[in-house]
Amino acid sequence: MKWGLIAAALLFLAAFVLVPAAAVVVEALRDGVALWWKAVSDADAWAAIRLTLLVAAIAVPLNAAFGVAAAWSLTRFRYPGRSVLLALIDLPFGVSPVISGMVTVLLFGAHGWFGPWLDSHGVKVVFAVPGIVLATVFVTFPFVARELIPFMEAQGTDEEEAAHVLGASGWQIFTRVTLPNVKWSLLYGVILCNARAMGEFGAVSVVSGHIRGMTNTLPLHVEILYNEYSFRAAFAVASLLFLLALVTLFAKKTLEWRQRTARREAARRSAR
């Protein structure tokens, strides 16, 4: 029974995770590293890589800041509307990314609420980089907050109150007590947020306009290559995203391991 279940789980994992992952790598390298490099170093591919990094570099710090602020306000204060805010944070998890993209178009598109005004001031949002950033920020904003809220809830407010009574200012409390206490959780949230920001397809696809070398992120570039039957190039670029997944997984595991050993160390020492 036990072995049957384990075998079933392994088989499922192999069929749906390992085989596709291996296929990506095999397909990408089928005609040798030289061709892989040619596909990856293509001008449009480079533009896509740069844009993806740029979007992540804006969206991730923004959401880290928002996540810390939201977690702080939700776990340190009691106010009316608190549960509504808590539910709103989960909204991007609940709706399809396509809808997130549509909302951006609705708000900032040529016929949207703010579109004409922005257009008259020479600001282009949809089918341009700002739209991609906005859509990505919306889709990825729960990650950091979701990671921090339960952690800060469990930690309680004692240490912050102690710092306050000891004469620390709000900023001193935040930088010297709160932030050092949540740093591992924060980093964990940032890693997950970054993985999603670089890999997001749906929302970005709606607002990007798919202009090669201009508004294509890596996932969109893969799709375009694939639709043009350039399978080799598509898999080569896809293998970059796969590499990102591996790096994320590795970083995530390292962090978990660090936290676990720190906790075990603490338990061992307090037992002595």
Binding site: A162, A163, H164, V165, L166, R176
Partner: protein, 358 residues
Amino acid sequence: MSIEIRGLSKAFDDHPVLRDVSLDIPEGELVALLGPSGCGKTTLLRILAGLETADAGEVRHGGEEVSARSARERNVGLVFQHYALFRHMTVADNVGFALEARKAPRAEVTARVDELLHLVQLDGLRGRYPHQLSGGQRQRVALARALATSPRILLLDEPFGALDARVRQELRRWLRSLHDELHVTSIFVTHDQEEAFEVADRVVLMNAGRVEQVGSPAEVFENPASPFVMRFLGAVNVFLGHVDGGRAFVNELEFAAPSAPGRTAAHVYVRPHEIDLHRAALPGSFEARVVRVVVLGASARIELSAPGYAGALELELDARKTEALALVPGEVVHLSPRRVRVFPIAEGEPDSLTASRL
């Protein structure tokens, strides 16, 4: 610094926690706020520290109204029940935190930290982290941290609550001797009568958001001001009777009592160690049947039943005397209360103990 509290009230979501509390604590005194959980003692402490704002009333530290000052500006030392040490800082950084927050020069901080760690007898541990310390050591670090800026008022919230019995015993004596050395006005919250009596100069008994009685441990124990105080401080036997003129009556028994107008129902309280046990009937005694004899080291507890007086009765006797008496369960004995306290029954008094102890 002296503390004056005038007409303090506080409610959480329409649930009153403090009702019109007034209290005077002279400079240099060590006072215990004693009461059952939920009586408002911790809330009162947090208001004094500035972590909570009262709905009404005044708090004066050394004659100055401080209600408008934040916790940061009050320079009050506060020790939390669960220590609340900064977990990512060493012992030295914890103790020096208040000084660093005030941007004191490094040399001064180091010197003060050394001095404080010496005071709390943790000289060798300055580089340790909180999770590397025992509970008693953590509490002493918390105390050293609270004392860093030489506050004129020290507040302690159940300071020994999370420690085991032996360490608690040790720290109580140590806290008392530390206070005798520093003479800083101190208030500590506790629900443990023994702790309050052992450590404090004066005890403030709180119940359901009100101050029931203030006095030295001997005063509140010997002359409880209310049935709550009587019941909260140690075991007690309760008889239902009535008062008439200056006398209290329980069946055939008669005691002196505070005079009350006309005939009023009353509770007559007798402490287990203030009852005499006889083999034969005497004037002023009543019959009881032995249920169980429990020897507790130096003393023994005798559980009895006395139908018509109280369902279950408790008596405390010297263990040697108990042995000599050789009481057998089922045996009929005669009891005469040596000292009683009579409280006429007032209706509708808020009291967090009524249901559980009677």
